[in-house]
C-alpha cells in the first residue's frame, strides 16, 4: 500500500508539470529481488485510485531479472535458480549489478479534448 501510494504521489507531482493533460499510464520497474508482489501492488494501486481523479490510470509493470557481472572475465548474465556462477568462465566471484529495482520509469499523458477542456473551464 505504501509503495502504491508513493507511485501515486509521484504521478500527482509530475502532473503539475504538464498542464492541460491527464495521466493515462504510469510505468514502474520492479526487480525480482525487490520483494514486491506484482499482484499485491496492482490490487493496492487499483483500490487507491477508485473513485478519484486518477481512476482511469493504468499501471504498467516491467519485471527486471537479477543480473550479475563476473569479476574475473567481466561477463554479464541473468541469474536463474540462484545460480550465480559465471556462465562463461564458471567463476563464483560474481557481483550483483541489477535486480532490486523499485523505480518509476515513465508516465503517459494525454491532452484534454478541446471540448473537455472547455467543459472544465466552465465548472
Amino acid at each position: 500500500m505504501g509503495i502504491a501510494n508513493s507511485v501515486l504521489e509521484a504521478v500527482r507531482t509530475e502532473m503539475g508539470r504538464h498542464p492541460g493533460t491527464y495521466p493515462c499510464k504510469v510505468g514502474v520497474r520492479i526487480g525480482e529481488m525487490a520483494a514486491i508482489d506484482q499482484d499485491a501492488l496492482r490490487f493496492c494501486f487499483e483500490a487507491m485510485i477508485l473513485e478519484t481523479d486518477l481512476e482511469s490510470l493504468e499501471l504498467g509493470i516491467e519485471v527486471c531479472p537479477r543480473r550479475h557481472r563476473c569479476q574475473v572475465c567481466g561477463y554479464e548474465f541473468i541469474v536463474r535458480d540462484y545460480d550465480s556462477r559465471c556462465g562463461q568462465c564458471a567463476s563464483l566471484e560474481t557481483t550483483c549489478i541489477s535486480g532490486d529495482e523499485l523505480e518509476l520509469a515513465y508516465l503517459e499523458v494525454e491532452e484534454y479534448e478541446p471540448s473537455t477542456a472547455g467543459a472544465k473551464s466552465t465548472q
Binding site: A10, M33, A35, D37, Y106, E110
Partner: protein, 226 residues
C-alpha cells in the same frame, strides 16, 4: 499520447531521509543495525540477551517497531538503556521518517550503537532503507529451511543471518545446513551465526560479530573526523 520519462526511485522520499540519517549516524559515530524477521523468530529475545550482556555504561539505544502495543519496549526497558517503541498503527514495516521522528529527542553524540527492531515481516522491511549500516535477518528453526529461497530479498540485503532457537533442533524437522546453504545461494558469502536465546548457546558468536562491527565502524569515523 506523450510518454514522459520519470527515472526516479519509487521510494525516493524515504531514501532521501534515510541518506540524511546515515550521514548523521556517520557524523556521530553511531553504528545502526536494522533487525528483521518474521513475527516470533526472536528479535526481541536476541535484543534482551544482547542488552543484558553489554556493560551498563555502554552507549546503546533501541528503537522497537510493532503494529500495536508497547510490550517489546517494556521487555527491553528493564536493562536501563534508552528504549523507545514505535507503534505503526497498521503499517507492516518501519520507514525512515518514523526513525527520524523517534530519534528527535535523543542526542546522537551520546550513542555508539543504535539497534532497530523492525516490525515482524520478511517482505516489506526489505524495501525501506532506514539509514542503517547493516541489516541483520533472524530466522528460527521452527520456520522452514527454504525461507531464504522464498523471501530472497531480505536475505540478499542482510549482512548477517542469525539462526535462532537451535535448542529446538532435536524436536523439529529443520535441516540447519540446508538453511545455511539456501541463504548462501541467495547471498554468496553471507555470514551466519547459530544461536539459542533460551540457553545462550552461540550468543558469544553474535556478540563477537557485533563487537567487530562496532570496532570496524569506529576507526573509520575517527579517521574522517581527524
Amino acid at each position: 499520447m506523450n510518454r514522459v520519462p520519470l527515472e526516479q526511485k519509487v521510494l525516493s522520499e524515504n531514501d532521501r531521509i534515510a541518506a540524511e540519517l546515515r550521514a548523521r549516524f556517520k557524523e556521530h559515530g553511531v553504528l545502526c543495525l536494522n533487525l528483521i524477521s518474521s513475527p516470533g523468530s526472536g528479535k526481541t529475545s536476541l535484543l534482551e540477551r544482547t542488552l543484558e550482556t553489554l556493560p551498563r555504561h555502554d552507549r546503546v539505544a533501541v528503537l522497537t517497531g510493532d503494529i500495536q502495543t508497547e510490550n517489546d519496549a517494556n521487555r527491553l526497558k528493564r536493562f536501563h538503556f534508552p528504549v523507545k517503541q514505535i507503534t505503526t498503527g497498521g503499517t507492516c514495516h518501519l520507514d525512515a521518517r518514523m526513525i527520524e521522528r523517534h530519534l528527535a529527542d535523543w542526542r546522537l553524540e551520546d550513542l555508539d550503537l543504535l539497534l532497530i527492531e523492525n516490525v515482524g515481516n520478511l517482505v516489506c522491511p526489505a524495501s525501506y532503507d532506514l539509514g542503517e549500516a547493516a541489516k541483520v535477518v533472524v530466522l528460527s528453526v521452527t520456520e522452514g529451511e527454504d525461507k531464504p529461497l522464498k523471501y530472497p530479498s531480505i536475505f540478499f540485503k542482510s549482512d548477517l543471518l542469525v539462526l535462532n532457537k537451535i535448542d529446538l533442533l532435536p524436536y523439529v524437522p529443520f535441516d540447519i545446513e540446508a538453511a545455511a546453504e539456501n541463504a548462501r545461494k541467495v547471498h554468496p558469502g553471507m555470514e551466519i551465526v547459530k544461536v539459542s536465546c533460551l540457553t545462550g548457546n552461540g550468543l558469544h558468536e553474535w556478540m563477537m560479530w557485533l563487537a567487530e562491527r562496532r570496532k570496524a565502524h569506529k576507526p573509520l569515523v575517527q579517521q574522517t573526523a581527524s
